[in-house]
Each structure stands twice: as C-alpha cells, then as structure tokens.
C-alpha cells in the first residue's frame, strides 16, 4: 500500500504543489496501516495459514509435520461425516437459492406495488433477520419438538408424533426452513430498496408498448436490478456456506445435521484437536466460497470501470 500511495502521491504532485505534508502522511500511515494490519492479521494471514496447515498433521502441541495430501485423502475417503456434510451444505445452498431467495423477491414485488399496511408486512417479515441464528435454532425446537412442538399439534399428530428434529432423514429440511425464515426477510429488504430505485418511466414505457405486468417485470425491471441480484447471490452463497449457529444450537451438528463448518469446529476445539485435518476441511469450504467471491469481485471491478 505504501508503494501505491506514494505513486498516487507523485501523480498528484504534478497537478497541485504538495498534496500531503508530513503530518498528513503520519496520519495516513498510522490509521491506514492499522486497519490493513488488522485485516492481514485476522483475516488474510490465517486464511493462508489454514491452507498451509491443511498439508500437515499439526495437533496444536507437537511438531508440524508435512503430510502432503493425506488430510484431504482421509476426508474424501475415510471420514464418514464428510460427504453428508458436503451434501447438506449444497442442499442448504439450493434451498436458500431456489426457495427462500425467490420468495423474498416475490414478497418484495408484492409489497412494492403499494398495498395497504405495507409497513406492517415489511416489519413482520423482516423481524427474524435481527435475531441471532442461534436463537432461530432454539425457537425452531419449540416448533418442531416431537412431544410438545406446535407443528405436531397443528397437524393433529400428538398420538403419532413425528420427530421433526430428531429424525436424521428429515431434520435437515426443518432446519433449512428455519434458516429460510430469516433469509427471506433479508432478501426482501434488499430487493425492496432496489425496486424503489427503478425508474418509473421504464415501467410506463413498457406498459405503453403493450407489455403485461409479468413481461414488464422479467424483461424490464429485473434486468435493471442486476447490482442487487449480485449482492443477493453473494449473501445467499455465503449464508449457505457459513451455516453453523442453527445446527450447533440444536444438537451441535450431529445426527443428520452435519455441516462442513461444524466438522471444522469439532476437529479444532474438540478433544482430538486435529488442527491439520480441520484445516483441510476449512480449505474445502474456502474453495467453494472463493468461486463466488471472485465472481463478485470481477463484477465490482467492471462496475468500477463503468463509473
């Protein structure tokens, strides 16, 4: 950064006389430096270190021994929870992306048309977003609990109750519904803001050209929402890969609720302390997310050039 800033500095000097005096430079160096140092120390350093550790058998105490791809091999072939966790993460992504996100968009479109009581709808649907995912997990247990839960009572199944949370075949779906409860409102708010910013004359022009409402939305309005779409896509992917709190609050991510994030945490803070192995799973998670992060950054850069 110091390099780029001095270069920028010199570039400016051609225009103005001296842009920054010594005090300015100290302020810039200290505050920018501090922020960059924190970012490197907390985020990027550990990310690189995770990749490095994933090739070792480090257990937190002993020596760091290089084991090559052994951890990955173990994860892919022997570790029984690995593939279920991958599957659950992908299901999570699919559910948020194909159900919760479109539903949020749909609600935003409905509310944006200016119905009565829109403030109430907006607040009620948005309210779960302010809750911690851990609390969402706890509340989900009240709804889905086998013996006392509201869902079995609503379905009239007290005599023959379904164990929504305890049955490893169906519990992931219940948890995803709970996650969607929170995700939908988030998406809705982002799209509502986006829809408000759409130029009304666009819609009018489309209507004059004889487009019906559906055509107007999909051909005219939706394409102009592209910046919001990108943000929503990134948030959806990130939420799906980060999913942790809900399942951990429910049963520590076992018995049908395995997720990659849980496996990483378990391997590190569990008694086994298999740091090398945990890192390998974390790197798998990183590779998944990097694809989307890079897409997003490319999009941002392109937007920057057009600005």
């Amino acid at each position: 950064m110091s390099l780029t800033s001095t270069r920028g500095d010199r570039g400016r000097r051609r225009r103005g006389a001296r842009r920054f005096n010594r005090r300015d430079r100290v302020v810039l160096a200290v505050l920018l430096g501090l922020a960059i140092l924190i970012d490197l120390f907390i985020i990027w350093g550990p990310t690189v270190a995770s990749i490095g550790l994933s090739f070792t058998s480090y257990d937190g105490i002993g020596d760091i021994t290089w084991v090559g791809l052994d951890n990955y091999r173990t994860a892919f072939t022997e570790y029984p929870q690995f593939w279920p966790a991958v599957r659950h993460n992908l299901m999570w992504l699919g559910f948020l992306g194909l159900v919760a996100t479109p539903f949020g968009l749909f609600l935003a479109v409905l509310i944006d048309r200016g119905v009565r009581f829109s403030r109430f709808y907006q607040s009620a649907i948005y309210l779960p977003v302010v809750l911690s995912l851990a609390i969402v997990g706890f509340i989900a247990q009240l709804v889905f609990s086998r013996d006392q839960g509201a869902l079995n009572a609503l379905l009239g199944r007290q005599d023959n109750p379904i164990d929504w949370i305890g049955d490893p075949d169906i519990n992931i779906w219940m948890v995803m519904i709970a996650a969607a409860w929170r995700h939908t409102g988030y998406v809705m708010i982002l799209y509502l803001a986006g829809l408000k910013a759409v130029d009304a004359s666009l819609k009018e022009a489309a209507a004059i050209d004889g487009a019906n409402e559906r055509q107007t939305f999909f051909r005219v309005v939706f394409p102009t929402l592209r910046p919001v779409n990108v943000i929503v896509m990134v948030i959806t992917v990130i939420e799906a890969l980060r999913a942790f709190d809900i399942v951990y609050a429910i049963n520590r991510g076992r018995n049908g609720l395995e997720l990659l994030s849980v496996l990483v945490t378990d391997n590190i803070i569990g008694e086994a302390s298999r740091i090398g192995f945990g890192s390998a799973i974390a790197v798998v998670l990183l590779v998944f997310s990097l694809g989307f992060v890079v897409t997003y950054l490319v999009q941002e850069l392109r937007g920057e050039k057009n600005r």
Binding site: T4, S5, G8, G16, L31, A35, I38, F41, I42, I43, G45, P46, L107, V115, Y121, A124, I125, Y126, P128, V130, L131, S132, L133, A134, I135, F138, I139, A140, Q141, L142, V143, Q148, G149, W181, T184, L190, A193, E204, A207, I208, E213, P227, V228, I238, L241, R242, F244, A249, S261, V264, T265, I269, A282, V283, L285, L286, S289, F292, V293, L301
Partner: protein, 308 residues
C-alpha cells in the same frame, strides 16, 4: 402460495388502457395480495409469539399438553429464574464489553479507510476496498484454526487477561469481531462517501486543511446517517454473534449473552420453556432496537447494495 395475485396495472396502464374489465380484476388482485401478505406476515411472527407464550408456562403443563394448548398457569417464573440462577445480567455485561468498543473501533477505522480511498482518491484504493470486502465474505471457519493456535501463544499481562493468554479473553473476540466486520463497513462507507460532493473537500484543501481535518471535521459529520445505520447494524451483529466466543472463550463466566444461551440447554435434560425465556430475553434488545431504529437498520443493509 396458491393465491396467485392477478396483475394489478400501474397508474400508467390505467391511464392508457382506460376503462374496461380490468378494474375488477385489479380489485380482486388487491384483495388476494392483501390476504396473502397478511398470512405470510402472521406466519413469520408466529414462531416468535410461540416462544413468548411457551416461556410464560411451566414445563410440566406444556410437557403434558404441548405448546399448542390453552394455558392453565401463566407466570414470569422462568424470567426470574433466568436472571437469578443463570445470572443473565453478567452475560449482558460481557456482551457490552465486546460490542461497544468493537462497534466504535470498526466504525472509526473503516470510515478512515473509506475516506482515504474515496475522498482522497488514492490510486490502488479500489484494490484495497476489495481486499477488505472479500475478507468479510470468507466463511468464518477458514480463519478459526490459525487464530485459535496463535491466540493460544500470545501472552498478555494479568490486567488484560486472567488466563495470561489472548485465548480465553475478551481481546480475542474483540479483535476477531473488528477484523471481520471491517470489510463490510469499508465497503458500505466507501460507497456512501463517493456520493458526497467532492467540492467540499477541495474547498477545505484550499483553506489549508490537513488530512485529519478533512476526515474528522469535514467528512465524518456528513456521514452521520450512514454511521448511525451501520452502527445499529454492527451492534446487532456483534451482539448476535455465537461462534467467535464459543471458540475463543473457554471460561463460562466470560461468555457473551448469545453464546451463554447455549448453557441453558442441558446435557441430558433441557427445559425448553426456560430456553424459550432465555431466547426471548436475548432477542428482546435486538427487537427493541429494530423497532425503534428500523429506518437506520434497513438503511444499513441497503446502503451496501444501492450504490451512489
């Protein structure tokens, strides 16, 4: 989902197409929309109301009748129990110890980075914003392992940490919160500051203002709405955090409130009604903040996406 609302023409189409059969479909569509949205809104509120309801009833009763039944007894016993036996107050204080400095430091550093990038128009600034933003998008688990190891090696004096280590101290959680949230705040504030008129800075430079003055006296006051919005959002996020404290704090007494809630669920037996009361207590501040500062809250989230 079965109620597919009929298309409601906009004011423009009405003007163009005039009268005809459309107004009637519109009215029917409006009603359908209204009913559908009411159902969805109530459905979204229902789990919260259920939690409140469950927390007011004794375990024995709901164990027998289920949560979905008429109450025989309603009381605040669980709330009392949560505050006396589980010492919720202590955990609230722990949360404040982490979240208040966390929000202030994050806003301060992020606003300076954003200022340097978007107001001073430094070359390479956009790359810097991206490095910060991308950092905020990584899954937390990617950075946990090395931080856990490093925090276990960093020694701190007793007055800073009674474990003599960064691990199991507030400092660890605080540092990670700040590092992680910096990215989001830099991104939002940089976008916001780009919308401010550049002439103000130019005028200040002509008057001989240094970088600090341009930042602290001129730019920051203009950012007050954005800072209020981000501050509200950041406080909620730090308050809601579950994972960092779970990983980096070992002593139960030091846990912030959201992570401490996990202790209410027992190893063998969980009193879900007590857990419901605990959830309501933990959720209440965020809900109150949301209802009071809804405008800021939503602005904070949408500032990032709606770019100037």
């Amino acid at each position: 989902m079965s109620v597919a609302p009929a298309p409601a023409p906009t004011a423009a189409t009405e003007r163009v197409s005039g009268t005809g059969p459309r107004p009637r479909t519109r009215r029917r569509g409006r009603w359908g929309t209204q009913i559908f949205l009411t159902a969805v809104a109530l459905g979204f509120l229902a789990p919260l109301l259920l939690a409140v309801y469950a927390s007011l009833r004794p375990y024995d009763e709901t164990a027998e009748e289920g949560y979905f039944s008429w109450p025989k007894t309603l009381s605040f016993d669980y709330y009392q129990q949560a505050f006396t036996d589980s010492e919720m107050t202590k955990y609230f204080v722990n949360t404040l110890i982490i979240a208040v400095p966390g929000v202030l430091v994050v806003l301060f550093l992020a606003s300076f980075v954003a200022f340097a990038v978007s107001r001073l128009r430094m070359r390479g600034g956009i790359v810097l914003v991206m490095i910060f933003t991308a950092g905020n998008l990584l899954p937390q688990q990617v950075i946990i392992t090395p931080l856990y190891t490093v925090f276990n090696k960093i020694e701190l004096p007793y007055w800073m940490s009674d474990s003599y280590l960064m691990y199991d101290s507030y400092w660890a959680v605080l540092a990670v919160q700040i590092g992680f949230q910096l990215g989001f705040c830099v991104f939002v504030l940089a976008n916001f500051m780009r919308t401010l008129p550049q002439e103000i800075i130019e005028a200040a430079v002509v008057d001989g203002a240094g970088v600090w003055t341009q930042y602290w006296r001129i730019t920051l006051p203009l950012c007050r709405p954005a800072l209020a919005a981000l501050g509200t959002l950041q406080f909620t996020w730090m308050y809601n955090d579950f994972l960092w404290a779970l990983v980096f704090i070992n002593t139960g007494d030091k846990l912030p409130i959201t992570s401490a809630l996990n202790n209410l669920s027992g190893q063998f037996f969980t009193d879900y009604n007590l857990l419901a009361a605990g959830s309501v207590i933990v959720a209440a501040p965020t809900i109150i903040v949301f209802l009071l500062l809804q405008r800021h809250f939503i602005a904070g989230l949408t500032l990032g996406s709606a770019k100037g």
